[in-house]
């Protein structure tokens, strides 16, 4: 056991691609934590998806033994956090397990939206910030400019800002020294009733849930009875230990240390991020601050493209949910798409990741409906109806008003794009809050805007209109009343539930028109003429027609051709399986994605 004075718990935070994982790799290498033969890029990111996308999805921890220039040996615990806005809560808990954060800023890019968001999260958690300018080996860097921005953000003096190249290793030892010198040793009561903070949890099919913990008070021992204060779960510690970076079993995990606890609990929802573990024997009464159950913000329907894969999809979702307490799903049946699930996600990235994992790891082909947020429809009786699927929106006649979630968005851009951003935000129902200059060249703008606009295309538009220079971060700020309507799509007179949308009343006409035009292009000619209509309630706002086929015959058919012709027709029949039958209309699966190709002003993207 290391005495408290020689423990340093830190994390590394950064905007995407600023070099967080590279710095972590170098630190592990230099300190000999990883054998050079086992070294590979992004060593802490274990999932293929993380490596491919260059992102961190799950938090990781690793214990590092480091002999500092003062000749003393320290136990450094590095907690690697996800960086994306979808996982803000997870990041905040990981940070809560640390005393300092190394803030990595790409010297060429400067401070970006996630740099700011993560820095504020760290400051909120009372962490010591160790600012680092990375990539100084690159020719295009503007160190003074970046220093100024970091100073504005953190108050750090130029002397306190380290200049490194994580790629070449230059300055990395100075980072380690700064961690030792500037990170406060863990506080807490070594003799107090034991408490540990869960900052992540993963499911292992053989061992059950593995809780990643930071011991805040006292110590935990194998075979002790423990309780989770938030969920009320009781269990016995089967194994505990630290990460090296693989799991290494110990007998005891003491104050200030970071490690893992396995209890045999099988459900991640019972071992939640942010919860407090206490012992049965000396039961601490007070929960560590900051525990909450995160709620999904974005919803979409997931349907197997082949109807008979429903059970496989359910099994796959069950398995993913074992490892991801924030993934919500419930059965949904669509007249058009058959049986599937309405799934809830923390955000768009989370949704993307889950979908991709379902397709890759479980070999499922999925059709996802347009993502939407959770609306609250207040009906005339005063009751609030939760609407996570546009098809569930009550009739206009019984609705008093509808509320939708708003976010407080922070946009960081070079000053030349301020006009562009204002223009974009105007078209997105965004209310301007304020604007701050981070440096003469960069400005931070705050807006209140509907989350649904972000879900629709705000981020894509932001990126494309600013040539990629803008960055975005946001947090939920609450529900607000909005003038929204349900836009329904009818094929041959029948409403198609999976194509329903909730849109601002003012945009309904343009969106409806664009959507039916798109659908007309995506639906092949049928044996019958098909009317494609967009309607609000019983009022049709746009109409297109898919004309009937005029000719569909095979050429000559002689004795020798009969088998070939029959097989051709059979193949076409087989191909129809990929079509969804909506009443008498056969709709190709791509048509259900047409909604995604229309932007909020009704233009095709």
């Amino acid at each position: 056991m290391t005495d408290l004075a020689h423990i340093r718990n830190f994390s590394i935070i950064a905007h995407i691609d600023h070099g967080k994982s590279t710095l972590a790799d170098r630190i592990l290498e230099i300190t000999g934590t990883i054998d050079p033969r086992d070294m590979k890029e992004q060593i802490l990111d274990k999932m293929d998806l993380e490596r491919e996308r260059g992102i961190t999805i799950k938090a990781q921890a690793v214990r590092i033994a480091y002999t500092a220039r003062d000749g003393q040996q320290y136990q450094l615990n590095l907690i690697d956090t996800p960086g994306h806005v979808d996982f803000t809560y997870e990041v905040s808990r990981s940070l809560a397990a640390c005393e300092s954060a190394v803030l990595v800023v790409d010297a060429a890019q400067g401070v970006e939206a996630q740099t700011v968001a993560n820095a504020f999260l760290a400051i909120d958690n009372d962490l010591e910030i160790i600012p680092v300018l990375n990539k100084i080996d690159l020719p295009a860097v503007n160190v003074p400019e970046a220093e100024l921005e970091v100073h504005e953000l953190t108050g750090a003096t130029p002397e306190e800002i380290l200049r490194i190249s994580a790629k070449t290793g230059e300055g990395v030892v100075d980072v380690l020294e700064a961690i030792v010198q500037r990170t406060p040793a863990p506080a807490g009561d070594p003799e107090g009733a034991p408490r540990a903070l869960i900052f992540d949890s993963v499911y292992d099919q053989y061992r059950g849930v593995i809780a990643y913990v930071r011991v805040v008070d006292g110590a935990f021992n194998v075979r002790e009875q423990v309780d989770m204060l938030g969920t009320g779960q009781t269990a016995e510690i089967e194994e505990l230990g630290h990460f090296g970076p693989e799991m290494v079993a110990d007998k005891r995990l003491a104050i200030g240390e970071v490690g893992y606890i396995i209890t045999g609990v099988k459900d991640v929802a019972q071992v939640r991020v942010g919860d407090t573990i206490v012992t049965h024997k000396r039961r601490a009464a007070e929960r560590l601050p900051g525990y909450r159950v995160v709620q999904p913000m974005v919803f979409c329907g997931l349907f197997p493209t082949e109807g008979d894969k429903y059970d496989e999809l359910r099994d796959a979702l069950e398995k993913l949910a074992l490892n991801d307490a924030s993934l919500a799903y419930e059965p949904e049946s669509s007249r058009a798409l058959g049986f599937g699930f309405r799934c809830g996600f923390l955000g768009l990235l989370h949704m993307d990741i889950i979908r991709e994992r379902l397709e890759r790891e479980y070999d499922l082909e999925l059709l996802a409906t347009t993502p939407n947020v959770e609306y609250h429809a207040i009906v005339t009786s005063g009751e609030a109806v939760i609407v996570r699927n546009p098809a569930e929106m009550p009739d206009e006649g019984v609705i008093d008003h509808v509320e939708e979630p708003y976010v407080r968005a922070s946009v960081l851009v070079p000053t030349e794009f301020v006009g562009t951003i204002m223009e974009l935000c105007q078209g997105r129902r965004a209310d301007f809050v304020d604007m701050q200059y981070l440096s003469p060249e960069r400005v931070q703008m705050h807006y209140q805007l509907p989350l649904s606009e972000i879900v629709l295309d705000f981020f894509d538009q932001l990126k494309s209109r600013t040539k990629g220079y803008a960055s975005l971060d946001y947090e939920l700020s609450g529900y607000r009343q909005s003038d929204l309507v349900k836009l329904e799509i009818l094929l041959a007179g029948e409403a198609v539930d999976a194509l329903s949308l909730i849109v601002p009343r003012g945009a309904a006409h343009a969106r409806g028109k664009a959507l039916v035009q798109k659908l007309r292009q995506k639906i092949p000619r049928q044996l019958f003429e098909v009317a494609v209509q967009a309607a609000i309630g019983s009022r049709v706002v746009a109409r297109e027609t898919v004309k009937a086929k005029r000719k569909d015959v095979l050429a000559k058919c002689y004795g020798g051709d009969i088998t070939r012709k029959r097989k051709l027709l059979e193949k076409q029949k087989e191909g129809k399986k990929r079509m969804k039958q909506v009443g008498v209309v056969e709709v190709p699966q791509e048509a259900f994605l047409a909604v995604l190709e229309i932007d909020s002003s009704g233009k095709t993207r």
């Binding site: 019958f528 000719k551 569909d552 095979l554 058919c557 002689y558 004795g559 088998t563 087989e574």
Partner: protein, 391 residues
């Protein structure tokens, strides 16, 4: 003679002057050297051997139709044609239908004079069966024939006239639409020629680029034909149907039109699911639930029959559902009523009602008929009618 009765015989003659770019039938170009006649003689000998073995297994006492396809059977010339037909002639009668395919470049005086009086058939010495000539015109417009990669420059109109002048009373022509570069005006020009020449029967096919022909490769048929192109072809098709009907032709199958009494009985036998035998390399036979195809290899064919009774064959077993689907789609192409009981194993009953509502099929007395309106989209109608689970 025993076994099931078969009344329809197809003979594949795998020789042609030169291979055309759109052709997917099995044939070998013959050169002008002396080897051609020797190979033809060998082929006829092998064909007779195959016939002897086949005829022993079926009741083939009478043949209602005999079809010589190719290739270009007329290339054999009168002497070899007579030799080839010798074993079949006694089984034919004056009321049988004997069709010989030919191409404009192969219609010389000798062939026309051979075909015109018909062939001697049956036991009685003076009984003759007329020869129906099927002439592969493809297009009356020379630039379009060139676009198809037709190797020969012969004038189809002259060939047709030669047949008529020598006295051939039953002549069918083959035409193609949807040739790259072909316009609606071109279709009108072809129709005017048809009206002027007045053949007894017209087969007018859409150019099929679905498989491995040089033309398909050249046009890179991997790309889906776009919607505009489809529209253009639909307009051509409608024009052809209406145009030929105005001249008294009956539209009795998707691609086939006949003057009264001149429908192709051999093809109708295929389309009604009658048993048929096919001889020669690449020929297909279907009897009951068995379909087999001789390997498309002329040398291998001759060699195999030199040694044993059968050439190499690929067999296919037709399931009840396969046969039901075939009955359905072949009947659909003819607009012929088909018994619901017969097609039940292939039918999605739920699909019938909406199609009937739309006037694409009609139901009467336990039969289903694809209507005239439905025949234009017979493919899609059949695909819709097919049941899912039986595939």
């Amino acid at each position: 003679m025993s076994g099931p009765a078969v009344r329809h015989l197809y003979v594949h003659v795998p020789f042609c002057r030169a291979k055309c770019d759109y052709c997917d039938f099995y044939s070998l170009p013959v050169g002008d050297d002396g080897s051609a006649r020797r190979r033809m003689a060998e082929y006829i000998e092998a064909l007779h051997a195959e016939w002897a073995a086949t005829a022993a297994r079926y009741d083939v006492q009478h043949l209602h139709t005999l079809y010589l396809g190719g290739g270009s059977p007329s290339l054999l010339g009168p002497e070899l044609l007579d030799r080839l037909l010798a074993p079949f002639a006694p089984l034919l009668s004056a009321r049988s239908e004997v069709t010989v395919e030919t191409n404009p470049e192969d219609v010389d005086d000798a062939f026309a004079l051979w075909a015109a009086p018909g062939i001697a058939v049956g036991a009685a010495a003076d009984s003759r069966c007329p020869v129906r000539v099927s002439l592969g015109v493809q297009s009356f417009i020379s630039s379009l024939r060139a676009a198809l990669g037709r190797a020969a420059a012969a004038d189809p109109e002259a060939a047709f006239t030669r047949l008529r002048m020598t006295g051939c009373e039953n002549v069918s022509i083959d035409l193609i639409y949807g040739i790259p570069g072909q316009t609606l005006a071109d279709i009108a020009r072809e129709l005017i020629k048809v009206a002027f020449l007045a053949p007894d029967h017209v087969s007018w096919y859409e150019l099929d680029l679905d498989h491995a022909t040089p033309l398909a490769w050249r046009l890179d048929s991997g790309d889906r034909i776009d919607d505009d192109d489809d529209e253009e072809r639909a307009a051509m098709y409608v024009r052809i149907v209406h145009g030929l009907e105005d001249f008294g032709f009956r539209w009795y199958e998707v691609s086939n039109f006949a003057q009264p009494g001149k429908r192709a009985r051999h093809n109708i036998a295929y389309w009604r699911g009658r048993p048929y035998l096919g001889l020669g390399p690449a020929a297909v036979s279907t009897v009951g639930a068995t379909r087999w195809r001789n390997r498309p290899d002329a040398a291998g064919y001759a060699a195999a029959l030199d040694e044993g009774p059968e050439p190499e064959r690929d067999y296919e077993r037709l399931s009840v559902a396969d046969r039901a689907r075939e009955r359905l789609f072949l009947a659909a192409r003819m607009g012929a009523p088909v018994s619901l009981t017969l097609i039940a194993p292939a039918l999605d009953e739920a699909a019938v009602e909406p199609l009937a509502q739309a006037g694409l099929v009609s139901l009467r007395g336990g039969t289903l008929t694809v209507t005239r309106k439905g025949r234009y989209v017979a493919n899609a109608v059949c695909v819709r009618l097919f049941r899912d689970s039986c595939i």
